[in-house]
């Protein structure tokens, strides 16, 4: 069976990927274009079968990848080149071909399973959740398109194909967040997500441009092989860059250029640029602000895109390019540091939120931070394993939230009120399946021992404590030794927080008394169903409603499956257990992935004695989660939330600040966005008034004014014309009446031969008389215009031209010339002409 498949789909032409990719695309096309005519059943069938078909193909692919021959350092890779896309120019005019090609290895095979598997479950769930929506077909078209884009992202064999998927998922996310676009806020949230992602894409674009230049390739294999190019040190900024600065700007140059050229390792620059992309996509500080807003989309979208798959693309990218990141301890430290800060910061916001989806959203941001801690400390496998367990438990949590909101919608139609945990409570009685699955997933995310989240989170925090990145050479900037421990400490604090706020949400939703409406058995919704009345949950009259209902089977089945994996999924990795009981037949995922990270892990070492640390730190992990859960239990069950209320009363300002998400959005609005907005206004106004004003309006104005002025002369009155004619004639007449004695001098031969030639300017009725100053003046005027004068060495003579015109008026001009055969010998003259002028034959003298 397997050998048949292998011969059908050889490793270098693995066309099975086409099936994985194209099925969702076809589904998207059919649902989008023909969905309205197919009807809901047709769309349901199309969308589900497309994703399920893709899932089946993914399972087959996974099996084949696992069975394909690989070594400890070389991962098995099945690839399929679809067609040649285009070429770009690299360094030294080399051609960098870029193909539309796809490949799958252990890492992407696993991710592919998650995307299609969890994707299918969420599709299934959506058919129940969205059943009453009029945009049903549109929703599934987008969802299928998302699966396609996500698969392109995962399977792309080079960075550019990955980028297609990367932007594709961003686009689908944009469309799905703004799915109910007639609400301005939701559409705005979509736009915000797209633009935040675009900022990340900018980093990715820059990274690709750098890689084209430095590595000369964008394909994974090529990049992995280009390690020497990556390790080069490059000057990125130096004073010599600005050497052509004008003098009056030198102070500016000195201001912006350092004494020593700034040099950076290529890998650091590339990795940091790539990480900008990850920050945008995976919602890390400072670009995390879009993700909580993205919860405006339908809840299954939040589960699929904004929890399980798309937002983890950043971690996938770091894992994919681990061989670049690992080269640069600095970049790794930035990744881990950003992750740790985000984990803590987002967790702090989640404490105060009352909107169930918002809590989950910030928890997602926080968990993504944990994943970046993992990949940032070199525990790529552990970090990526957290992606997978997170897909299970967070997907499940969101779907449970959706199930709860679905139930709340029976009487509360207002969006905010139906998601507010203060209106919930006690739901465990009415929604047993949702309650159980939610509880299991909560335990998993809190890291309760033996759940999936326990294994993944514990593993990556353990690695944060023990791992260090070995620099390639000692010149490379490395973080201090305590850096790992600091990350670990932050991670532990964030983990306590996670356990606390997740169980706060759990207790508020499922325990206590139901606060949404007063339950009336056999309640019939009022016939007119006045929405306006229901919009406010906290209005004066207590709202009446039916017993909250459990969701339909299409929604609960995915919940159960996901919760199952959230509970036990950790055992496929569970590194400590595998060390205790090494099982031959059951290979841990880390082992499965290790060839993918082989190059990167060369740079990762563990500090001595870390083996012994494993069990104590495992205990710390378990203790942390139990402590968090216990604290939540004490505050919200034992004390009925009194300590929380007391805290709010005591530190109201802080609470409000946290409730407002530390007012980060406002900060951005006031600073960066305000700045860009102001720049836009300035640009638009300048363009309109200054640029257009000078280039178009001013020039046209000048022409107009000149025209007006000239028009004044053209009055059409003969007298004015006659007068101007008289004046003009008089001026010309005076010019003719006056003689003008002018001559051109040819002094080219004055230095070698001492000869100077003159030619007097011609004029009407002119007669000329030439003589040399001091010699006899001839009486006669002749018509001869030419005259030449011979000079001895260092001799100076003055030629005199007298002109008589037809009116017998005379004019005289003198020309002094000197033959400077020795430098400086012409100086002593009564006409102090500079010697150079004399040499060049300039006119020296005037009308007498």
């Amino acid at each position: 069976m397997l050998s048949q498949l292998t011969s059908q789909f050889p490793a270098n032409d693995f066309t099975l990927l086409a099936a994985v990719l194209l099925l969702p695309l076809i589904g998207a096309f059919v649902c989008g274009i023909f969905g309205k005519r197919l009807g809901k059943e047709g769309v349901r069938l199309m969308a589900l079968s497309a994703v399920f078909g893709s899932f089946i193909a993914s399972v087959v692919t996974f099996i084949m990848v696992a069975a394909a021959p690989h070594t400890a350092t070389k991962a098995a890779r099945l690839s399929w080149k679809a067609w040649h896309w285009f070429d770009v120019t690299g360094r030294g005019r080399s051609v960098v071909p870029i193909d539309v090609s796809f490949s799958v290895d252990a890492l992407s095979a696993t991710m592919m399973l998650i995307v299609t598997g969890v994707g299918f479950l969420i599709h299934l769930y959506s058919t129940g959740y969205m059943a009453k929506d009029e945009g049903f077909y549109r929703f599934f078209a987008y969802l299928n398109l998302f699966i396609f884009s996500m698969l392109v992202l995962i399977l792309g064999d080079n960075l550019l194909v990955l980028f297609v998927g990367w932007e594709g998922v961003g686009l689908c996310s944009y469309l799905l967040i703004g799915f109910w676009f007639d609400d301005e806020k939701k559409a705005a949230a979509g736009k915000k997500a797209f633009i935040a992602n675009r900022i990340g894409d900018f980093g990715l674009l820059v990274a690709m441009a750098m890689l084209v230049y430095y590595a000369g390739t964008l394909s994974w294999d090529g990049l992995e092989a280009a390690q020497s190019a990556m390790a080069e040190q490059r000057t990125v900024w130096s004073a010599s860059y600005l050497r052509e600065f004008p003098d009056w700007l030198v102070w500016l140059r000195d201001l912006v250029t350092p004494e020593q050229p700034v040099r950076m390792m290529v890998a650091t620059m590339v990795a940091l640029a790539l990480f900008i992309g990850c920050i945008g996509k995976s919602a890390q500080i400072p670009l995390f602000v879009w993700l909580p807003d993205a919860m405006a989309g339908p809840t299954p979208v939040s589960a699929l895109i904004h929890a399980a798959t798309m937002v983890t693309a950043g971690i996938y990218l770091v894992c994919r390019t681990s061989f670049i990141f690992a080269l640069s301890p600095l970049a790794m430290a930035v990744v881990a540091g950003t992750g740790a800060l985000t984990a803590l910061f987002a967790a702090s916001i989640a404490f105060a939120q009352t909107d169930l989806k918002k809590v989950l959203a910030y928890s997602t941001v926080s968990q993504l931070g944990f994943m970046f801690i993992g990949v940032g400390v070199g525990a790529f496998a552990a970090g990526f394993f957290h992606v997978i367990t997170h897909a299970f438990f967070k997907g499940c949590l969101f779907l449970c939230a959706g199930s709860v909101i679905h139930a709340m919608h029976a009487r509360v139609h207002d969006e905010t009120a139906s998601q507010d945990m203060r209106n919930m409570g006690g739901l465990r009685k009415y929604m047993p399946i949702t309650h159980m699955t939610f509880l299991v997933s909560c335990l998993a995310i809190a890291g309760f021992p033996l759940t999936s989240g326990f294994w993944s989170k514990d593993e990556l925090l353990f690695k944060a404590f023990t791992n260090t990145i070995v620099p390639l050479n000692p010149n490379i900037i490395t973080p201090p030794l305590w850096y790992g421990q600091m990350i670990y400490a932050i991670g532990i604090v964030a983990a306590v927080g996670t356990a606390f706020y997740m169980f706060r949400a759990y207790f508020m939703t499922f325990h206590g008394d139901f606060r949404g409406w007063s339950i009336v058995a056999g309640f019939k919704p009022p016939a007119h169903d006045d929405h306006h009345d229901d919009d406010h949950a906290d209005h004066d009259e207590p709202l009446e409603g039916p017993v909250p209902h459990e969701s339909p089977r299409s929604m609960t089945v995915p919940l159960i499956i996901l919760a199952f994996f959230a509970a036990i999924g950790g055992f496929v990795y569970a590194e400590p257990l595998h060390q205790v009981w090494p099982l031959e037949m059951f290979v841990s995922l880390e082992h499965f992935w290790s060839p993918v990270f082989a190059t990167a892990s060369k740079f990762v070492t563990t500090r001595p004695g870390s083996e012994a640390m494993m069990w104590p730190l495992l205990g710390v992990g378990a203790g942390v989660s139990l402590f968090g859960i216990g604290a939540a239990y004490w505050v919200y069950i034992v004390q009925k939330g009194e300590p929380a209320k007391a805290f709010v009363a005591r530190a109201g300002g802080l609470h409000r600040l946290v409730l407002d998400k530390w007012r980060i959005d406002e900060l951005y609005d006031a600073t960066i966005l305000g700045l860009i907005d102001a720049m836009g206004d300035i640009a638009a106004q300048c363009d309109r008034w200054i640029v257009d004003g000078i280039i178009a309006k001013l020039t046209s104005g000048v022409v107009k004014v000149t025209g007006h002025a000239l028009r004044l002369l053209h009055t059409g009155r003969v007298q004015v014309y006659a007068a101007s004619m008289v004046v003009g004639t008089a001026v010309i007449g005076w010019y003719v009446f006056t003689p003008h004695a002018e001559a051109t001098i040819d002094a080219r031969r004055v230095r070698p031969q001492g000869q100077v030639r003159f030619e007097a300017a011609a004029g009407h009725g002119y007669r000329y008389r030439w003589h040399i100053d001091g010699e006899t003046v001839p009486d006669i005027f002749s018509g001869r215009r030419n005259f030449s004068m011979q000079l001895e060495r260092c001799e100076q003579k003055t030629a005199v031209l007298t002109i008589k015109n037809a009116f017998d008026r005379e004019a005289v001009t003198t020309y002094t010339q000197c033959r400077e055969s020795k430098p400086g010998c012409c100086k002593p003259t009564d006409t102090p002409a500079p010697k150079k002028e004399a040499l060049l034959g300039r006119v020296d003298g005037g009308v007498r």
């Binding site: 797209f194 894409d201 084209v212 206004d681 363009d687 000078i694 280039i695 178009a696």
Partner: protein
């Protein structure tokens, strides 16, 4: 090939099924357009790597097979059609329109013929005839891989613009047809002319129909906009004319005969050292200013928003899709071709200029516009900034990306103008604030708008991305931009963010949110006619997005030659501040100089010389 036929039929069938409530003609036309696009992919698809060296070997022979009459037909058919229209009765509207369509169809098919010849190094379809022999003016038209795509773009978008215009304009149809046909003929001529005099004639000729298009069928302020457009362009062209004359005169001083031929004038290096004021610098700037006005480059761009806002939809489409490309094409062909040293010297500074004031300033201005058409006009400034950046960088992928981006901009911005025209025809306003929530009443229209928006902001998978990426990557590696290349690449990439900001902003304001304005509640969705105008553009958006190599392959040789010629001339001709000099022989390839004018022999009777390709060689 046959598999593509099957695919084409399948695609056609699917396309026919797409409209929910379409007439038979509508379905058939959509099917035909789609099938045609798929067939075109199949036809252009490279046969495989094995045949590539063989094609290269045919470099010389390949040119032999090209029928030299074809370019004359491409220029002559539209202009001849415009003249023939004069004799048709203006009352018979369908005859006038049908005739115009027929001419457009013929021209488009003729331009497809151009694609059948392998675009090897050198000139193709060259046709030379003496025009005014006493001044050395010749009718010299030829095609290479760069002008090829611009010609195809012209023959592709002009019919769409005319088709869209017939839907919304109902006065002076005959004059409209004549204007469109003249415009097309002149634009094709501009892209093909290799004689500077001929180029100048076409350059000016295309102004007139566009002036009329804006001035007659435009909006309320049409006269002012038409004048502004005309005077701006005219100011540039007069400068260019002066520079042409100086160049021709210098060539005469050097070689002793008069010629306006590009291939001959290329070999003249005017006196001047880069960085000083010299004849060379003045001539370069005279040419470049003319092209910059047309592009338009900051600060010469303010005619564009006015012209676009006032122009009718069809006029805007042609203006954006083709006419702006005259500037970029002109810079590539003439400014860089005739004055490589100056162009190389100015490249880094100019690249900084187009990034700061084209890509970023243009985007910021676009963001703040309240009129959709004005916004799209400013987005053109930003997009063409990318094109110019690619040209300044002068790397292979930069130039290729720039040429591709010229096409992309033509397609995407043309489509955007068509879409804006759709809403303008319904509401007679383009103020963004008048709209909101349109997606509710016009879902198909909204979908198409979003697709074109994605192409415009360069989302991968659409055409815009390929061009932008090639330009950015090209800028990064460019030697021409010195050490600033990487910094400029980063700054240009930043412009990509701003593009998303302004385009998504307008999409959100127009289509999303509540449907608040009561005037919009009864708007009809896009009509079959309008979808037909948009369908080819949208198909091409994806065609280029996924198969750019179909185009890049055909422009490869021409771009390589242009770049090499540019670089080599800079390297091998040492600047002389005082005297003009000739480019030494060997710098320009034989195939490039094919058809260059020779010093006239003693036989003045021979009036018409149709160059046979066997007569190779040039004045060296």
């Amino acid at each position: 090939m046959s598999s593509f036929a099957v695919l084409a039929i399948a695609a056609g069938l699917i396309a026919a099924a797409v409209p929910t409530r379409g007439s038979r003609t509508h379905r058939l036309s959509l099917a035909a357009i789609t099938a045609f696009v798929v067939l075109a992919i199949g036809w252009l698809w490279p046969e495989g790597a094995a045949t590539a060296p063989a094609a290269a070997k045919e470099a010389v022979e390949g040119a032999d097979t090209s029928p030299s009459i074809l370019l004359n037909l491409l220029i002559g058919v539209p202009i001849g059609g415009a003249i023939a229209l004069l004799f048709l009765p203006r009352q018979m509207l369908s005859l006038v329109r049908g005739f115009t369509y027929a001419i457009f169809a013929v021209t488009f098919l003729l331009s497809l013929w151009l694609l059948s010849v392998p675009m090897t190094d050198g000139w193709h379809f060259q046709y030379i005839a003496d025009w005014i022999p006493i001044a050395g003016i010749r009718y010299h038209v030829a095609l290479d891989g760069i002008s090829l795509w611009l010609v195809v773009l012209t023959t592709f978008t002009t019919p769409i613009a005319a088709f869209a215009s017939f839907g919304s304009i109902d006065k002076r149809i005959k004059e409209l047809c004549i204007a469109f046909l003249m415009l097309q003929g002149a634009m094709i001529g501009t892209f093909l002319a290799l004689d500077l005099f001929l180029f100048y004639v076409f350059w000016e000729l295309m102004l007139i129909p566009m002036f009329l298009l804006i001035g007659i069928w435009g909006g309320a302020e049409r006269r002012m906009a038409a004048m502004k457009f005309f005077i701006y362009t005219m100011a540039g062209s007069v400068l260019m004319l002066a520079a042409i004359l100086y160049l021709v005169w210098t060539h005469h001083e050097l070689n002793g005969f008069w010629t306006f031929d590009y291939l001959a004038l290329c070999q003249v290096v005017l006196p001047g050292v880069p960085g000083t004021i010299s004849p060379q610098a003045l001539c370069f700037w005279a040419f470049t200013l003319a092209f910059f006005i047309k592009v338009p480059v900051f600060p010469l761009h303010t005619w564009l928003p006015d012209a676009h806002v006032q122009a009718p939809t069809g006029g805007s489409v042609v203006l954006a899709a083709v006419m702006l490309k005259m500037g970029t094409y002109g810079y590539l062909r003439f400014s860089m071709g005739l004055f490589p040293a100056q162009a190389a010297h100015a490249a880094a500074t100019l690249a900084g200029l187009v990034i700061m004031f084209g890509i970023i300033w243009g985007a910021l201005c676009a963001w703040k516009q309240s009129d959709v058409k004005r916004l799209v006009a400013y987005s053109s400034v930003a997009h063409l900034g990318f094109v110019m950046l690619g040209l300044f960088g002068a790397t292979t992928s930069g130039i290729k990306g720039a040429v591709l981006q010229m096409i992309n901009h033509g397609i995407a911005t043309g489509a955007l103008f068509l879409l804006v025209g759709v809403i303008y025809d319904r509401r007679h306003t383009r103020e963004v604030s008048e709209f909101g929530g349109l997606a509710k009443v016009m879902p198909v229209y909204a979908t198409l708008f979003v697709i074109v928006t994605m192409a415009s902001i360069g989302v991968p998978g659409t055409n815009g991305f390929i061009g932008e990426f090639m330009v950015i990557a090209g800028t990064f590696v460019s030697e021409r931009l010195n050490q600033f290349g990487p910094i400029q690449a980063v700054a240009a990439a930043f412009g990509v963010i701003l593009a998303a900001v302004y385009m998504l902003g307008v999409v959100q304001k127009m289509f999303f949110g509540p449907l608040s304005n009561p005037k919009n509640k009864t708007l009809k969705d896009i009509s079959p006619r309008e979808t037909l105008a948009l369908a080819p553009l949208i198909l091409v958006i994806f065609l280029i997005g996924w198969f750019p190599q179909l185009m890049l392959d055909r422009m490869d040789a021409a771009v390589q030659t242009t770049r090499l010629r540019f670089v080599n001339t800079v390297l091998e001709v040492s600047p002389n501040p005082k005297a003009a000099q000739a480019v030494p022989p060997g710098v320009f390839s034989e195939s490039f100089l094919k058809g260059a004018p020779k010093k006239p022999s003693a036989d003045p009777k021979k009036k018409k010389v149709a160059m046979r390709p066997t007569k190779r060689g040039g004045a060296k």
